[in-house]
């Protein structure tokens, strides 16, 4: 029996239990008593589950732990991360840089210097002193992308409200900075992206942000190990499916073209300085502000690491190289650092990663990466790439400027253009250069290569692991119901549209999920999200035409940024 049927079985089981006398107790008095007593939020117990009735004694135990912890912290404060003592409002600094949308922040009651509320719009950045209770709210009807240093890129749905629940601080150069922050999602939803992890929490849940690890004995390491355990569990269950993948491995978005003729006699250009190789008068200042030499060094180092990581994640029984994973995350952080400046300059692109894959950025990254790897572009190659990039940059600008009904239409058009761009650029490289940029296995999964559209897909892809079209339609319509605020009748109509659309696109159901796609890292087979995106634009149009929506629901549908990707179980 598959998992879907298993849940249906459990529904019947639950109904039978109720019909035979199982009843929920009345908790009203108990809850009112606890509210009146102002009991501190109770930590959720780890299994084994408690005996019936509310657990006593956990709060005193935690308090004792906090006292012992405070004594140890007094000695180690200067060199180790410090957990905030309970009951004391401590402050730590994070840096915010908004890339898309706008936010409002407040830190009520944060000591010693209460900070007045402030608003940050796209392109703005500032330090924020946070403490428990500090709040951040997404303003406007769109999603917000922001860089929260030192943690990485955080994306929120419209009207999301976050509150700092707890944090761990560390002291660097005399300034208390946040090493980890736990955010409660009061409303909406939030996603934290790093290159190897995607964590998401919705209203009622919590999200823990952690800075990239400095050493092996950290919470991040523990999280990675936890992922490894899950991964191995899933790998074992899915080992037989891997054989199918072997035959499909060659189906990639960026199939390597025939090798360009080697031109050994052609002189390479002089080593590039930190400035851009490919310029554009409109964005000259922004491009000049980027340290391309550093970008190239980081990309050159990351590229083989990413391929190795993906290979391991998709190999049943293999052990995750934790040191590589952490190193990749740290290198990615260096790339992210360059994004706010580029976005502020108005380089066109769909979201932060759309800017990262803007033709001008790609061209300069490619040149500096090859330079860092000791295989610089020749003069002829540079001239050819300059021509190509000018054409793609113009096309990109035109896609960006074109008015559209749905936000995702721009994403789809931009992705199709960039797939062509990467293939054309790749055509101009020698075999050695191409092997350096696209090491074996790097184009099998979205996010495995820095020089493919997969990096733009990952932040928006919402994998829906499902058995068939009906299964997908039910789960996706449930998500849309929440996102657009649909009532049950409208949701049913949406589900029917989705089911028909899925039945009409059998290609989306051809490739079964591979182990890495079922893991918690959100890596998807290359091309899967792009295909789902194209299909989604189609079914969104049908919903807009055939389903009766309120003006507000229609507006939300047009602004939708999530791509619901069917992942056949």
């Amino acid at each position: 029996m598959n998992e879907h049927n298993d849940w249906q079985d459990r529904v019947v089981d639950a109904a039978l239990r109720e019909l035979h006398g199982e009843r929920a107790p009345d908790f009203t008095e108990s809850i009112l008593r606890q509210l009146q007593a102002g009991t501190a939020p109770t930590p959720v117990p780890a299994s084994p589950p408690p005996r019936r009735g509310r657990r006593p004694g956990l709060v005193p135990l935690l308090a004792l732990g906090a006292v012992c912890g405070a004594a140890a912290a007094a000695i180690l404060f200067a060199i180790l991360p410090v957990t905030q003592p309970q009951g004391v409002r401590q402050v730590a600094r994070v840096e915010l840089a908004v890339m898309v949308g706008a936010i409002e922040c407040s830190a009520p009651g944060v000591l010693p210097e209460p900070e007045p509320p402030f608003r940050l719009a796209a392109g703005e950045r500032r330090d924020w002193n946070i403490g428990t209770g500090s709040r951040l709210m997404a303003v406007g009807d769109g999603e917000v992308d922001m860089l929260v240093r030192p943690f990485g890129v955080v994306t929120t749905l419209p009207h999301t409200q976050l509150e700092v629940r707890s944090m761990e601080r560390y002291v660097k150069n005399g300034v208390a900075a946040a090493g980890a922050v736990t955010l409660a999602v009061v409303a909406g939803a939030v996603t934290w992206h790093t290159l190897i992890r995607t964590e998401r929490a919705e209203a009622g849940g919590q999200l823990r942000l952690e800075k990239p690890a400095d050493g092996p004995d950290t919470g991040e390491l523990a999280a990675l190990r936890q992922q490894l355990l899950l991964q191995q569990q899933q790998n074992a269950e899915l080992q037989h499916r891997n054989q199918e993948l072997e035959t499909q491995a060659s189906r990639t978005v960026l199939a390597p073209p025939a090798p360009a003729a080697a031109r050994p006699d052609e002189p390479a250009l002089a080593p590039v300085a930190a400035g851009p190789t490919f310029d554009d008068p409109k964005y000259r200042d922004a491009l000049a502000a980027v340290d391309w030499k550093a970008m190239g060094a980081v990309s050159n180092e990351m590229t083989p690491m990413l391929a190795k990581l993906l290979e391991v994640l998709d190999t049943p029984g293999a052990e995750l190289p934790v040191d590589v994973a952490i190193q990749v995350q740290k290198l990615n952080q260096k790339l992210i650092e360059q994004l706010p400046g580029l976005m502020k300059a108005g380089l066109p692109g769909y979201g932060p990663n759309g800017v990262f894959t803007n033709p001008l950025v790609v061209g300069n990254s490619l040149a500096s990466t090859l330079q860092a790897g000791g295989q610089p572009l020749s003069a002829n190659q540079q001239a050819a790439l300059a021509n190509l990039l000018a054409g793609f940059a113009a096309e990109n600008q035109s896609i960006h400027d074109q008015p559209r009904d749905f936000d995702l239409e721009q994403f789809a058009a931009e992705t199709a253009m960039k797939d062509r761009m990467y293939a054309s650029l790749s055509d101009q490289l020698t075999t050695e250069q191409r092997n350096a940029i696209y090491p074996e296995g790097s184009t099998r999964f979205d996010g495995g290569s820095l020089f493919a559209t997969g990096v733009t897909m990952r932040p928006y892809a919402d994998a829906i692991v499902s058995d068939n079209a009906g299964d997908f339609a039910r789960m996706a319509s449930h998500k849309l119901e929440q996102q657009l605020g649909l009532d049950e009748a409208t949701s049913t109509q949406v589900r029917q549209v989705l089911e028909q659309a899925m039945l009409a696109t059998p290609d989306l159901w051809r490739d079964r999920a591979s182990p890495v796609e079922l893991g918690s890292n959100s890596f998807m087979r290359a091309g899967r999200t792009a295909a789902a995106l194209q299909a989604q634009v189609g079914w969104m149009r049908q919903i807009a035409s055939n389903v009766s929506l309120t003006p507000d629901q229609r507006k939300k549908l047009f602004a939708l940024k999530r791509v619901y990707v069917p992942v056949p179980r």
């Binding site: 529904v11 035979h20 929920a24 299994s47 509310r54 407040s106």
Partner: protein
């Protein structure tokens, strides 16, 4: 600056009474023991009542409560027995059952379908759900093994599910 608004005064007792049974049943459906479901139901409501939550009606409130409940359920394990994607499927199945009436229509239909059940199937349901007999005890009565009982019960539940869905959709 729009600070997070404190929620207006609510009928807390009324709110708990209205939704507690569904939250508890949802947790049981996910696999929580009665004891764990007791504990997590209370914690779920405490989170609702402490948080500045903008109430957008019963439907959204229930969705919020389910989300908190399932997060708490996952966090109650050192090694969660399922992934969040599996819980999406679970929640979809549950909302298909609970609909707007907490599953009342479904249960009514189930009563009718149970009445149609005869012979060994009716007896097996009675032994498992009414007498709370173990799988071994049921197996001994029917002269089959534990796995046989498991398969038989699944087949019966599948029959009942089909019967209920026919009635609900009619």
């Amino acid at each position: 600056m729009h600070a997070v608004k404190a929620e207006p005064q609510r009928d807390v007792a009324g709110l708990v009474r209205e939704h507690q049974a569904e939250v508890w049943r949802f947790l049981r459906f996910l696999g929580a023991t009665p004891e764990l479901a007791d504990d997590l139901t209370q914690e779920t409501f405490l989170q609702l009542l402490r948080a500045p939550f903008e109430d957008q009606g019963r439907h959204k409130r229930l969705a919020w409560l389910r989300t908190v409940a399932r997060n708490l359920f996952l966090k109650s394990f050192r090694r969660p027995p399922m992934l969040p994607v599996d819980l999406d499927a679970a929640e979809a199945a549950w909302t298909g059952f609970a609909r707007d009436d907490g599953g009342e229509e479904w249960r009514q239909a189930m009563r009718g379908c149970l009445d149609q059940l005869e012979g060994r199937a009716r007896e097996a349901v009675r032994m498992q759900y009414e007498e709370r007999k173990s799988r071994e005890a049921i197996g001994a009565a029917f002269r089959i093994g534990g796995d046989g009982v498991k398969s038989m019960m699944r087949r019966i539940r599948e029959l009942l599910r089909r019967c209920v869905e026919r009635q609900v959709s009619a």
